[in-house]
């Protein structure tokens, strides 16, 4: 273990438990989509197995790290792993922002006859290229429902702005926590971490309230391209904030246990970057969905 060149992991059963969990989750999900009665409970079981695997596997890694089993090469591999994970996350959200851009700037105007698409308005009679487009053209045409004319826009100065303020404040408190960690101020570090977690939880609460309002007002996942992109973007963002809150809580627990020092706190750095990232994604959402 003291060899600085190579680290060979020991045998472990966690990967196969993870595979069983993912398979169970997808079998449940697929059957739930087909309205099979046992689909939903099997899906929940899959989630539970994955949660068990995450807890056990990451717990093993933490125990090994604290036990002094890792050398500088393992540290390097963790940093590369985190960087590739970050890259995949950036690409994930880039795809959804790209879909929003494509629908809003290109495909919807084209359906309305923009550029050289002079014949496309004939595809669906009465179609007007508007944004937000909250009905699917063919479906709305068949049902005789007007295209997004029975809805009006209200201003942005409500929960979205408040939530942006909350999340940005959590970015500030996390930066103070980061500074406290680097300066060795343990009590301040724990206080700022608690504040960050609390702000994240309040953000999620408001987001659930906002979904309730939007859904009650008739904006659904099936409400045209706007409804789809809106719920997918904000929904996946909310999912990431949930994961971020869980990770911050684990880090707070590890701080309390004294796992980090001034030189060695990679786990904190990884989670801090992740939180800053979900913060910036929300800022992007706030700008592109609500403002410009």
């Amino acid at each position: 273990m003291s060899n600085e060149k190579y680290y060979v992991p020991h045998g472990t059963y966690w990967p196969i438990i993870g595979s069983i969990g993912i398979s169970t989750l997808f079998i449940g999900f697929a059957n739930q989509m087909h309205d099979v009665s046992w689909g939903w409970p099997v899906m929940v079981l899959g989630f539970a197995i994955i949660a068990f695997m995450m807890f056990g596997w990451l717990g093993t890694v933490v125990a090994e790290s604290v036990g002094g089993m890792y050398n500088s090469q393992v540290d390097k591999s963790f940093r590369w792993g985190m960087s590739w994970f970050i890259f995949s996350e950036v690409m994930f959200f880039a795809a959804f922002f790209g879909a929003l851009l494509y629908a809003r700037v290109l495909s919807v105007p084209w359906l309305g006859g923009a550029d050289n698409n002079m014949f496309t308005p004939e595809l669906w009679e009465g179609f007007k290229a508007t944004w937000p487009l909250i009905s699917t053209p063919g479906e709305a045409g068949q049902n005789g429902v007007a295209f997004s004319t029975n809805f009006k826009l209200v201003d942005t100065w409500g929960l979205p702005a408040l939530n942006t303020g909350l999340l940005l404040t959590s970015g500030v408190t996390l930066t103070y926590a980061h500074h406290a960690l680097r300066a060795g101020h343990r009590d301040a570090l724990m206080g700022w971490m608690l504040a960050t977690i609390a702000l994240g939880v309040v953000f999620l609460g408001f987001q659930i309230t906002e979904y309730g309002h939007a859904y009650h007002d008739g904006l659904k996942l099936t409400s045209g391209i706007y409804g789809s992109t809106f719920y997918l973007l904000t929904g996946f963002h909310g999912f990431h904030v949930t994961i971020g809150v869980i990770m911050l809580t684990v880090i707070l627990y590890r701080i309390q246990k004294g796992h980090f020092n001034l030189e060695n706190h990679f786990a904190f750095e990884g989670v801090a970057w992740y939180w800053h990232f979900v913060d910036v994604v929300w800022l992007g959402l706030f700008i592109f969905v609500y403002w410009i």
Binding site: K152, L168, T175, H178, R182, G218, L219, W273, D279, W291
Partner: protein, 72 residues
């Protein structure tokens, strides 16, 4: 005005990217770089948010609005 907002957002992403490079390098230098980049990103984000609110208040930018309420 929209381009200005997008440019600042892009700059925020540049600082996030710089933080990743710091994270990847590790050690004292990497850790310093990461902290400074993340601090710059939060300063810029707060300023951008304040600017958006001010611009909306003064009418420089007309917000989209997002809540779609039935009119009838």
């Amino acid at each position: 005005m929209n381009l200005f907002v997008i440019a600042i957002l892009a700059l925020i992403f540049v600082f996030l990217g710089s933080a990743v490079i710091g994270l990847l390098r590790g050690g004292k230098a990497g850790s310093d770089r990461m902290f400074k980049a993340l601090r710059m990103r939060i300063i810029l984000s707060v300023l951008l948010f304040a600017f958006l609110l001010l611009a909306g208040f003064l009418g420089w930018i007309e917000p989209n609005g997002f809540n779609l309420l039935p009119t009838q």
